[in-house]
Assembly symmetry: C2
Homo-oligomer: 343 residues x 2
């Protein structure tokens, strides 16, 4: 499977690392083999090599700051219009791992469309296209017989959509409730141990959990984007970030947390999605609730079902390798879909 | 899909109820349609009707105590040697839901073999064949091109094996640790609220969680059987109940639980399986551990992986409908396997 990566930040490098370090295992256990033939970045260069790029050399070049530092070799292309490259590259799948834009999803959305239209699978960790246009991309994928994978957009590699759509197939899912943002959960956990909000936020930033501008995390927009994705994937329902009720954690104080603790409860930023809508808001949960003890940067989602009652999945919600695995799992599915079509 | 049920206790009736109540939904959403053509019980009669049995009439007859009360109709057979029936019935799948025998797995094991040899899929909630002969049945299934499903033997319908084998494919699973017995977890939870061991056990029996002879639950053998099944399915490793270290909860006292609580910990009966072996024993877990807050009859398993770290699944570990769903999920897979073969 020949991959074209859009973006080569932490997540793209995480996937590249997995493909390099687990190559023998993936081939032996799952008959899966993948090569990176192209990498497109916004400010750090572009590479296209139909014969496949060296992952070691890619990681070394980006580690030094720019893909221009990748060694020159026969057939290597360093400049090209991204859309032209996506349309014409000899690649089987587009891997969209550039920065999530939840307002317009661009330019990633156009890249995804171009990839599908030119007969490539699309898998993404970029939440933009998944949150704003999953139904459209899914329909386009079905039309051209290609797979659109968005597992990595919800809880990194923790198989949230696989659980809901495959493992629970046959159940009716009535609601999904989750802790879908690790940064805010980390901050709340630290505040429970006595830190002030500002101090906990600074620590989360120092650890690389929170961005320099933490608005998307602490005001609930990152969780809201994931709620919109869950609504689209699980309930085939289009929610709008503009009309959905979204409330973050920046107004919570140590006193709020102490009051909850005194009552045997704790505050969690909970995203809720049902067939009728969705919302994100801080909720006081009793400590016996399965989501109450999910602490630190861990994420979790509870699916309420008709036949099984509540089923909860807890796992990492971020991290380069964990998110890289989410992409890998979707590439597996894309490969299987391709094989079924051939047979 | 035509089903032959061996056993028609709570779990068999749970599956029948699902097939009746969800028939339209399953057909519409998953293209799945199943009919019960035969039911074999040890002491409550046998029915075989190639045209399909009425689920309403089946549930009414067994509710009154015996399948002899099923109305007489053309083509209905009420007496036959079970093995002859399994071999000759016009059925697509055997559903083994009779009582689990962890010593010999019989007669269920012979029934499973006969079903596979005569070209039928086998799905089971009966832990005997899964714990003692999964590798053999799996090999036989591959040989004859039929599916062997054991999802319902570990955590009822909570998709434990689907998570480990499908959703986490591409990860290396390094260890599985779980609360796999709801009865003991219920007893420990009640003891934490102040009940004595004997009192909590009596309550579990009154609620139908624990058998009249609670040995298999409280001495750890039920959890051990599930550990053996996890070892076989996840690590392709044969563990023996005779040599595996197994310790139950009957020696734990209120004082033990109070000491743990005072230290911010709690006792859980934990089954552990790694590629090197397995064991069942009560463990003191810190309250921050994902398994620590799994309370009551709920089950949970944590898979430790190389790429995702710990992924925990929490859900029901028993119950007729939940276990019926586990069987249904395996029947889905069997149907898909059949369709792939045909295409």
């Amino acid at each position: 499977m020949r991959l074209l990566l859009i973006g080569f930040g932490a997540v793209g490098q995480g996937l590249a690392t997995i493909l390099r370090d687990q190559a023998a295992y993936l081939l032996e256990r799952s008959g899966f083999e993948a090569h990176i033939v192209g990498v497109v970045t916004r400010t750090r260069g572009l590479l296209y090599q139909p014969d496949g790029l060296s992952i070691d050399a890619l990681l070394e070049a980006i580690g030094k700051g720019h893909l221009d530092l990748y060694p020159t070799e026969r057939g290597l292309i360093r400049q090209m219009d991204p859309l032209d490259l996506i349309r014409t590259a000899a690649a089987d799948a587009l891997v969209e791992v550039s920065y999530s834009n939840l307002q317009t999803a661009q330019p990633a959305l156009d890249y995804c469309r171009a990839a599908l239209e030119s007969g490539k699978h699309v898998v993404m960790a970029n939440k933009g296209p998944a949150a704003l246009a999953y139904a459209e991309l899914q329909a386009l994928g079905q039309q051209v017989g290609k797979f659109v994978g968005i597992e990595a957009t919800v809880m990194a590699g923790t198989p949230t959509l696989r659980l809901a759509l495959e493992a629970l197939a046959g159940c009716r899912i009535l609601a999904a409730r989750g802790i879908l943002n690790g940064t805010t959960n980390y901050i709340l956990t630290q505040m429970e141990s006595g830190m002030a909000y500002g101090e906990a936020l600074e620590e989360a930033q120092a650890l690389g959990y929170a961005e320099a501008d933490p608005t998307a995390d602490v005001e609930g927009w990152d969780a809201a984007g994931k709620a919109v994705i869950l609504a689209a994937a699980v309930f085939q329902q289009h929610l709008s970030l503009e009309t959905m009720p979204v409330k973050g954690i920046s107004h919570l104080t140590r006193v709020d947390l102490e009051e909850a603790q005194a009552a045997g409860e704790c505050w969690k930023l909970i995203a809720t999605v049902t067939p009728d809508g969705g919302q994100v808001e801080p909720v006081r949960l009793p400590l016996s609730h399965p989501l109450a003890r999910v602490s630190g940067a861990t994420n979790a989602v509870t699916f309420s079902t008709d036949l099984l009652g509540d089923v909860t999945l807890v796992g990492p919600g971020a991290g380069p390798i964990a998110t890289g695995f989410g992409l890998l799992a979707d590439l597996f599915t894309a490969q299987r879909a391709g094989q079924l079509k051939k047979s």
